[in-house]
């Protein structure tokens, strides 16, 4: 069982992902905008295992949130999957450059998303080396 945070301004998408994650036995936290995510995500560490982050949100965008979280000691190594409708190659590249661990395009198959999440939820001990 893991604790997963989803930041997305679309309540339908939040509910969809929550439904799938809860059914898979995970706990879910959520935020509807970038500011809330920036406040709540570091507070949820160290228990928080993964962040699903939408890019286009009012106020702080997902990229803004990502940049700030990567500077934050508590969330520097937090697995983050970008969840976005920005489908252009340049957007994907930007996400990875800023430190995202994966990038899932909307619309997505919930099953496929679960696979990607599981792939990121490997023991944290082995993750540190990836970023160093």
């Amino acid at each position: 069982m893991s604790l997963i945070f989803i930041a997305d301004d679309d309540p339908d998408v939040r509910e969809l992902v929550e439904y799938k994650l809860v059914h898979a036995g995970h706990q879910v936290l959520s935020a509807a905008n970038g500011q809330d995510a920036l406040r709540l995500v570091p507070a949820a560490r160290p228990g928080l295992d993964l962040l699903l982050l939408d890019v286009m949100m009012p106020g702080f965008s997902g990229f803004d949130v990502l940049t700030r979280l990567r500077r934050h000691e508590a969330t520097r190594l937090l697995p983050i999957i970008m969840l976005t409708a920005k489908a252009q190659d340049t957007d994907v590249e930007r996400g990875f450059t800023l430190g995202a661990d994966d990038y899932v395009l909307k619309p997505f198959s919930p099953r496929e998303l679960m696979n990607r999440i599981v792939a990121q939820l490997v023991p944290t001990g082995s993750r540190g080396t990836v970023h160093l």
Binding site: D10, D12, V13, L16, Y19, K20, H23, M56, A85, K86, A87, Q88, D89, L105, K106, P107, F108, S109, P110, R111
Partner: protein, 578 residues
């Protein structure tokens, strides 16, 4: 001029001396005159002598007297005869001179005229009335010739100036440049104090006589400018005063101090402007009066000649044509700029729309999956069938969105392939994985047959999209239970990829338009599967970008085979300019 004169003319001219200073022609060669006179008198003198001799003989014979008186009489007669001969000689010489002198004068004068000297004037005061009359005719002829010659010279000059103006104004497509060069040519050609051009704004209706572009040439700095300081907003004062020439005819003003034409205020205003005479001609661009060409004199009135008015009309026509070109060019430039802005807006709009559509689609596609993958409880077979339709619609929407986005990139010119060695096997697997769910649900069999170790340099994402579009297309047109085969092999320096289906095929008459934009087949086996007609067009764009080719072979009712041929190692230099 001198170059064209034959030698004889040069010679004659030299002997004539400076005729311009001496209107009366003097015969210059004494030798010539005497010789001609003597030769001309010879016959006359001989005739008179013969007549005298014959008369003497007759008288001697017919008047018989004594021998002594006969001899005396004969001697008297001989004396009389000799006196008569001498008298005749003197008379003949005189009359010869009276005729020959004026003739010589006329001859020399005509020779001078033949050689192009139209300044000659003959005076034959002592000549016979008939010869004087001839002299007057010669003078009239010379005057007429001189007049025609002046006209001819003017015309040649006008033509030369027009040609020069034409060359100058057509040498540039920049409006400011065109009008500036035009006034610089027209000014000296008309020999006036100043020439200026005003172009009106917009359609020439609302703007009245407000000019937005102006150029002025002045003979010297002493000549005042008639242009207002800010040409962009203020009306042209001169044109405001003399009226606008919308009737497309010249406005000719010889003297602005013309009480019949202008009232006191106008006359004062014109004086303040420094305009005493003007010649205004409208500049017609296309079908409308776009501006005016104005020549003006500052101090003196000027009686504009017909030739000058015509010349100005010619200038105006020439400038109008040049402006037409320049304006068309300017318009085209503006259009290109505007198109560029529109195009960027369109592409931004497309990517925004694409993003906005993807968000809600995420919910549609996601929830349908939850409903059909067993996460949700008790979905009936009928509901499942309905959900399948919704799901397929969602998938189609996604394809349309992707294709629109790709289209906008193709049109924006940012679709150049990023070439790198690719593993075609991996690409094909991804395409088949994506298609497998739909294939299974529609009872289609998807077979892949790849040659081992295919070596291909291409843009992986683009090739995946092309294959995806071909496979989606095949599935769309293949009824349940059909087959779709995807195979790839190397042929020479090319990698050949076939996507074969057992679908409904393409009617022969539609095959030519397959790869055009917005082509859609008129029938599909499943309801609601018609797309936006971009899929195959995008395939073609991708293949073209790789310097490859794509084609289709189809038998209506039996199936189709789409074949992509890609160079295994495309030469990057080929696309250097794109």
């Amino acid at each position: 001029m001198v170059r064209d004169v034959p030698d004889v003319c040069v010679q004659r001219r030299t002997t004539l001396g400076n005729d311009a200073e001496a209107p009366r022609l003097l015969p210059s060669s004494e030798h010539l005159r005497l010789e001609t006179a003597l030769a001309g008198s010879f016959e006359l003198v001989a005739g008179i002598a013969l007549f005298a001799l014959a008369a003497t003989a007759l008288v001697v014979v017919l008047v018989p007297r004594s021998a002594a008186t006969r001899l005396e009489f004969a001697v008297e007669l001989v004396f009389v005869g000799v006196a008569l001969v001498v008298l005749a000689l003197l008379l003949s010489r005189r009359s010869a001179r009276a005729v020959m002198r004026p003739l010589e004068v006329l001859d020399v004068a005509l020779a001078a005229v033949t050689c192009g000297d139209f300044t000659v004037h003959v005076e034959l005061e002592r000549a016979a009335a008939e010869i004087q009359s001839v002299g007057e005719s010669v003078n009239a002829l010379v005057r007429e010739l001189a007049r025609l010659r002046v006209i001819e010279i003017e015309r040649t000059k006008d033509q030369r100036v027009r040609r020069e103006l034409s060359e100058v104004v057509h040498a540039s497509l920049d409006l400011d440049h065109v009008v500036q060069r035009a006034v610089e040519v027209v000014g000296p050609a008309l020999d006036v104090d100043r020439v200026h051009i005003r172009l009106r704004d917009g359609d020439g209706n609302g703007g009245g006589d407000q000019g937005w572009l102006a150029a002025e040439w002045r003979r010297s700095d002493d000549v005042a400018s008639v242009l207002p300081l800010s040409a962009a907003v203020e009306p042209d004062p001169l044109i405001a005063l003399i009226g606008v020439t919308d009737d497309r005819r010249a406005v000719v003003i010889d003297d602005t101090i013309d009480e019949a034409r202008f009232d006191v205020e106008q006359r004062e205003a014109l004086e303040a402007l420094g305009v005493r005479a003007s010649l205004t001609y409208p500049l017609v661009v296309g079908t409308r009066v776009a501006g005016v060409l104005v020549a003006s004199e500052q101090r003196a009135p000027r009686s504009w000649s017909d030739g000058e008015v015509m010349l100005t009309e010619g200038f105006a026509l020439e400038i109008g044509r040049a402006l037409d070109h320049a304006l068309a060019f300017k318009l085209r430039d503006e259009m290109v700029d505007r198109m560029g802005v529109l195009d960027r807006a369109k592409n931004e709009f497309l990517s925004e729309v694409s993003r906005e559509l993807r968000g809600p689609l995420a919910s549609v596609v996601g929830y349908i999956e939850l409903l059909t993958d067993g996460s949700a409880e008790s979905v009936s077979a009928e509901q499942r069938r309905m959900l399948r339709i919704v799901e397929r619609s969602g998938e189609r929407l996604l394809v349309v969105i992707d294709n629109l986005l790709t289209m906008s990139r193709i049109e924006a010119g940012t679709f150049d392939p990023k070439l790198a060695p690719i593993d075609l096997g991996v690409v094909v697997r991804r395409v088949c994985d994506a298609a497998s769910t739909t294939a299974a649900k529609d009872s289609l069999e998807l077979d892949v047959n790849l040659e081992q170790d295919l070596d291909l340099i291409a843009d992986e994402k683009q090739i995946e999209r092309a294959l995806h579009n071909l496979v989606s297309n095949a599935m769309k047109f293949t009824p349940g239970g059909g087959h779709i085969d995807l195979s790839a092999r190397t042929e020479g320096s090319e990698v050949v990829i076939d996507v074969r289906d057992t679908g409904i095929g393409i009617p022969a008459e539609q095959q030519d338009e397959l790869f055009t934009r917005f082509f859609t087949a008129r029938a599909t086996p499943r309801r609601g599967t018609l797309g936006a007609g971009l899929g195959l067009y995008i395939v073609k764009q991708i293949v073209d970008g790789h310097d490859g080719s794509v084609g289709a072979v189809s038998v209506h009712g039996r199936g189709s085979t789409f074949t992509m041929r890609l160079p295994a190692h495309p030469n990057p230099g080929d696309r250097g300019e794109s």
